[in-house]
């Protein structure tokens, strides 16, 4: 008779890379549409992902998570009560052959931090790619929210010279937010 394997708990599951073929399993047809095309207030946020050599990264995936325009989340852990706006809040877009990604969403509202201080409108971002053994996390802020950005408690902890890497800039098509994994102007990434 054999011994039963032990299925007991013994710690976190480690992360591994998505590898080059993430587009088999991760993208959804509507992943890039946090809201449908034509939704009132829809904005496009787009950009490229670059590696440390300046090369475009064609095998990355961008995921976004954010509040709705009223600052609410459709989630039971929001102590203010889950938002009933019907806003999905989650975006997912692989980069294409030239490193480009884009999501269509709504601008998030003000979200308080743990102390109740208002945070500037922001979107949490996960970047996954071949060559990244764990996702990296950044935030999108908006250049046309200068006043809110100036008093944002998270931005305040980012070295001033690097803060611009977190700011999406208005562009004729929406907002541009390029991501540089490494090198000059490396995007600020956050430890969760």
């Amino acid at each position: 008779m054999t011994t039963e394997p032990d299925f007991g708990f013994d710690g976190l599951t480690p992360s591994q890379t998505v590898g080059p073929y993430l587009s088999i399993g991760l993208p959804w047809p509507d992943g890039h549409e946090v809201v449908e095309a034509g939704a009132p207030g829809a904005i496009k946020i787009f950009g490229k992902v670059y590696d440390g050599t300046g090369a475009e990264v064609p095998d990355a995936l961008i995921e976004t998570w954010q509040a709705d325009p009223a600052g609410g989340f459709a989630h039971p852990d929001d102590p203010r009560g889950p938002s009933d706006s019907g806003f999905r809040g989650f975006g997912r877009c692989p980069t294409d052959d030239t490193g480009d990604w884009a999501i269509l969403t709504l601008k998030p509202g003000i979200v308080p931090d743990r102390d109740g201080r208002p945070q500037a409108p922001h979107i949490d971002v996960s970047v996954l790619a071949r060559g990244l053994l764990h996702r990296v996390v950044t935030r999108i802020y908006f250049a046309d929210e200068a006043t809110a950005n100036a008093s944002d408690p998270v931005l305040a902890t980012v070295p001033e010279a690097r803060r611009s890497t977190l700011i999406a800039t208005p562009d004729r098509d929406g907002y541009r937010f390029d991501i540089r994994l490494q090198g000059d102007d490396e995007t600020v990434f956050f430890a969760l």
Partner: protein, 236 residues
């Protein structure tokens, strides 16, 4: 009161710069990460899946229009947080090579047969107790260009959203006793031996189906809440 998720203590996940895996060299960020306090945005997360997956998405052997070639396997397990609490109704997404070690992807030019009846993608939701179950075929090992005679151990990619943005995890499940473990820089990027062992599924006779499929169990543990509420160290 907001949930308070425990931060990674640096002993489980691989270092982003792991030069044995060449692609990390130009891609791993080099600047110091900035501590992100866990506000509402981080302790909430997408609760998706209902309406996005069907029962058929959990069987990778029957799509499209024929039966996949290879050794049929059942892969199942439980998704929990680090406090041992099951994570119900969370989306589990998998992708993998076929039994010959080839991905159905235009970039994969490995000289091994493609299987027209195997797309290599599956999805399911965990049940009320955090359990998931897939039927698939055992993926093959395949060569890659990382170093001379480099072959990846057989693996299945797993993606989990969890309940909160802090819990998002992408990992790979390996099979017991693979002779390639010692040579694989992605597997070995996880430095702690016990943590590496958690990437390996266990053969599970109870999930094995008579005369039809071998069973493997792969439990997945995501970041958990702190037992005792503490202040985020954001004023340090």
């Amino acid at each position: 009161m907001l949930p308070n998720y425990r931060r990674d203590d640096g002993t489980t996940h691989p270092p982003l710069l792991s030069p044995g895996y060449k692609s990390t060299v130009p891609r791993a960020p080099r600047e110091q990460f900035v501590l992100l306090p866990h506000s509402l945005t981080e302790v909430t997360g997408p609760l998706l899946g209902e309406g996005r997956v069907t029962a058929a998405d959990a069987d990778l052997t029957l799509a499209p229009g024929g039966e996949a070639q290879g050794q049929r396997i059942v892969v199942h397990g439980q998704v929990r947080d680090a406090g041992g609490r099951p994570i119900p109704h969370t989306l589990v997404e998998v992708w993998q090579s076929n039994a010959a070690g080839r991905y159905q992807h235009r970039w994969d030019q490995h000289h091994a047969p493609l299987d027209p009846h195997f797309t290599g993608v599956g999805r399911c939701l965990t049940d009320a107790d955090g359990h998931y179950r897939f039927v698939t075929v055992k993926p093959g090992a395949y060569p890659w260009g990382n170093h001379p005679n480099a072959w990846r151990p057989a693996h299945i990619h797993f993606s989990l959203l969890g309940r909160a943005f802090t819990q998002r995890l992408v990992t790979q499940m390996y099979f017991p006793d693979d002779p390639l473990f010692a040579y694989d820089p992605i597997f070995n990027s996880v430095r702690d031996e016990r943590a590496r062992a958690r990437l390996i599924a266990k053969f599970d006779l109870s999930a094995t189906v008579e005369a039809w499929a071998l069973g493997f169990r792969f439990d997945i543990v995501l970041a958990g809440e702190d037992g005792t509420p503490t202040e985020d160290p954001h004023d340090d």
